[in-house]
């Protein structure tokens, strides 16, 4: 089983990301897939988490993800407040949406660090709501490239399920760009 924890801000779309990944995983052939918001009071702008679990069999654990294999950070301003690396399994992967190089993030631990400009991908694809680029779908493209756990095709299909019309098309394009601009190597920290 792979356990993924998403760190975002209330209203930024981490719950949407967790659901798109679960859908993409299911479509990629993982027959066990669950997605859940953090169970707590949520306020716009405050740090929040969501989780996805994917497995080859039915998932029977429903408690919160406390030892993630993969951590995804939707916004690098969270790194100073969210303790995103807490509980990570040794040798895990952390994916950070940032314009800075991985070496400049000040993160150290037994995990692989992948830095990706997902906001840039969302802007390039025109995924702008209320003047702000929205990365909730695009970052699943970065996840697909960085981990290899789901295919880009399944991510696109899952985004098509989550959005409709032109929003779907733009988010699919943003995920494609994020996929292309993400390294599958990452840096050891």
């Amino acid at each position: 089983m792979h356990e993924i924890r998403w760190h975002g801000r209330g209203g930024q779309g981490s719950v949407t990301s967790s659901k798109i990944l679960a859908e993409a995983a299911f479509r990629s052939g993982w027959c066990g897939a669950t997605a859940a918001p953090s169970f707590g009071a949520e306020r716009r702008g405050a740090p929040v988490t969501a989780s996805t679990r994917i497995a080859r069999e039915r998932i029977r654990v429903l408690s919160q993800v406390t030892a993630p294999d993969v951590v995804v950070v939707l916004d690098d301003s969270l790194l100073s407040v969210a303790n995103a690396e807490v509980g990570m399994k040794p040798g895990g992967t952390m994916i950070v949406n940032t314009t800075r190089p991985a070496s400049a993030l000040g993160l150290f631990g037994d995990f692989r660090l992948v830095a990706s400009d997902v906001t840039g991908a969302a802007e390039a694809a025109g995924v702008i709501v209320g003047g702000q680029p929205i990365v909730s779908a695009a970052i699943v493209g970065a996840f697909a490239k960085a981990t290899g756990l789901v295919s880009l095709e399944s991510v696109k299909a899952a985004i098509g399920e989550a959005f409709s019309g032109s929003a779907a098309a733009k988010n699919v394009e943003a995920a494609r760009i994020a996929y292309e601009c993400t390294s599958c190597d990452g840096a050891a920290t």
Partner: protein, 405 residues
């Protein structure tokens, strides 16, 4: 049949649509709201030919369902926690009036202190009101059980609560097989033979004052008194012990999936310690039983699917000659013990091969219940059993006593 990823709330709403509910009345409350938001969208879009009544309170929500059900409609509502408490008067009315209403209770902690997260204190607080109560282990069971609930309710003219854990299931997405409308139509015919119906051409007084003793009505027929009506109600509720498994079997025939009827069991055959619970904990306890077996302990899990009526015979049958039953309750009868634990002790009392029964309280107000918490509670219980403890006070799992003043 198609498989889709959906939340428990989506699964409930989907079942209500497939069941062709005719009147839906609700007031929003977390974590229930997405159920009726989805249903109201379907009604608005013309996908569900039902009357959706937005009301000003939960008391009114169930009142609307009572009115609708009285004139023969298939009625549905959903609520949680304080919303359920606010409709308590009508919960008793719906049961006593023998109306086959279905209500999803999305289990949430009772205030005060204020908390929107999961436990089962809300539905447990109305377990004695005369409804059938069914508890679900995952999102698939929510869909299947909600559809089955209409059949059960209409078979015995008793309302049914479908209870499922807030957030842990209500907001967690997982794969769910969705049967086709034709499959569900074959399983669930339109509501027939309502016990109590009002026709415009035949106006009647519904719910007159009923004396304690039987008496002759205006036509000279002997009518039951209040006690007789209550005994009849209880007899009908007890019929659910046959009807719930029968309906589950019919569902299995229609869509190919069964949930075990009254109880669900896992690795029970040779189990010496049996882990007992209701709701999503049962799903986690199947993993805990595996963990304990890997440690050399013969453990199994027993889930209570039908909590009211209480399946005493089924539980006696499954628990005879075990060493220990450990009951995990997400509720407490304050000043006593966990409700399931107390009921189980009473059901097993003085039976041949009666196991020791210990209780553990967990997960109140959304406290995370991990597999390790559950397993450690089982290991501790086995130590107490080996030490010869016959009667044990309820244990509180993961209680931070250092924070208590």
């Amino acid at each position: 049949m198609t498989t889709r990823l959906m939340t428990g709330n989506d699964a409930a709403a989907t079942a209500v649509k497939l069941a062709r509910a005719q009147v839906i009345a609700a007031y929003p409350i977390t974590p229930q709201s997405p159920v009726v938001e989805q249903l109201s969208r379907w009604v608005e879009e013309g996908e569900l030919p039902a009357e959706f009544v937005a009301v000003e309170s939960e008391h009114s929500a169930l009142s609307v369902c009572i009115g609708a059900s009285t004139v023969g409609a298939r009625a549905f509502t959903a609520t949680s926690a304080n919303g359920l408490a606010y409709m308590t008067e009508q919960i008793w009315w719906a049961a006593g009036a023998r109306l086959p209403i279905v209500m999803c209770v999305v289990n949430r902690a009772m205030a005060a202190p204020w908390n929107v997260l999961n436990d089962q204190q809300d539905s447990m607080s109305v377990r004695d009101a005369g409804w059938v109560q069914l508890y679900c282990r995952d999102d698939q069971e929510i869909l299947d059980t909600t559809a089955q609930a209409f059949r059960v309710a209409e078979r015995i003219n008793v309302p049914v609560m479908v209870c499922y854990d807030g957030f842990l299931l209500s907001h967690t997405m997982m794969p769910v097989d969705v049967p086709s409308p034709a499959e569900v139509d074959a399983f669930l015919p339109p509501r027939t033979a309502p016990l109590q119906i009002v026709e415009v051409s035949d106006p009647r007084n519904v719910g007159p004052v009923t004396p304690a003793d039987p008496r002759e009505d205006a036509d000279g027929a002997l009518q039951p008194g209040y006690m007789e009506l209550r005994a009849m109600h209880n007899a009908s509720l007890l019929q659910a012990l046959e009807v719930v498994p029968a309906v589950d079997a019919e569902w299995s025939e229609a869509v190919g999936r069964s949930w075990g009827g009254l109880v669900g069991e896992y690795l029970l055959d040779d189990a010496e310690i049996v882990l007992v619970a209701a709701g999503s904990l049962v799903t986690q306890l199947t993993l805990v039983a595996e963990t304990l077996r890997a440690e050399g302990v013969r453990a199994g899990a027993l889930g209570i699917r039908c909590y009211r009526p209480f399946p005493a015979d089924a539980l006696r049958d499954r628990l005879a000659s075990r060493a220990l039953a450990l009951v995990y309750d997400k509720a407490l009868s304050y000043g006593n013990e966990g409700p399931i634990c107390g009921d189980l002790k009473a059901a097993l009392y003085s039976m041949d091969g009666e196991p020791a029964v210990y209780g553990a309280i967990c997960g109140l107000g959304g406290r995370d219940v991990t597999l390790e918490h559950l397993a450690q509670a089982a290991r501790d219980a086995l130590s107490d059993l080996e030490a010869g403890v016959a009667h044990r006070a309820p244990v509180w799992i993961d209680l931070a006593e250092g924070s208590m003043r």
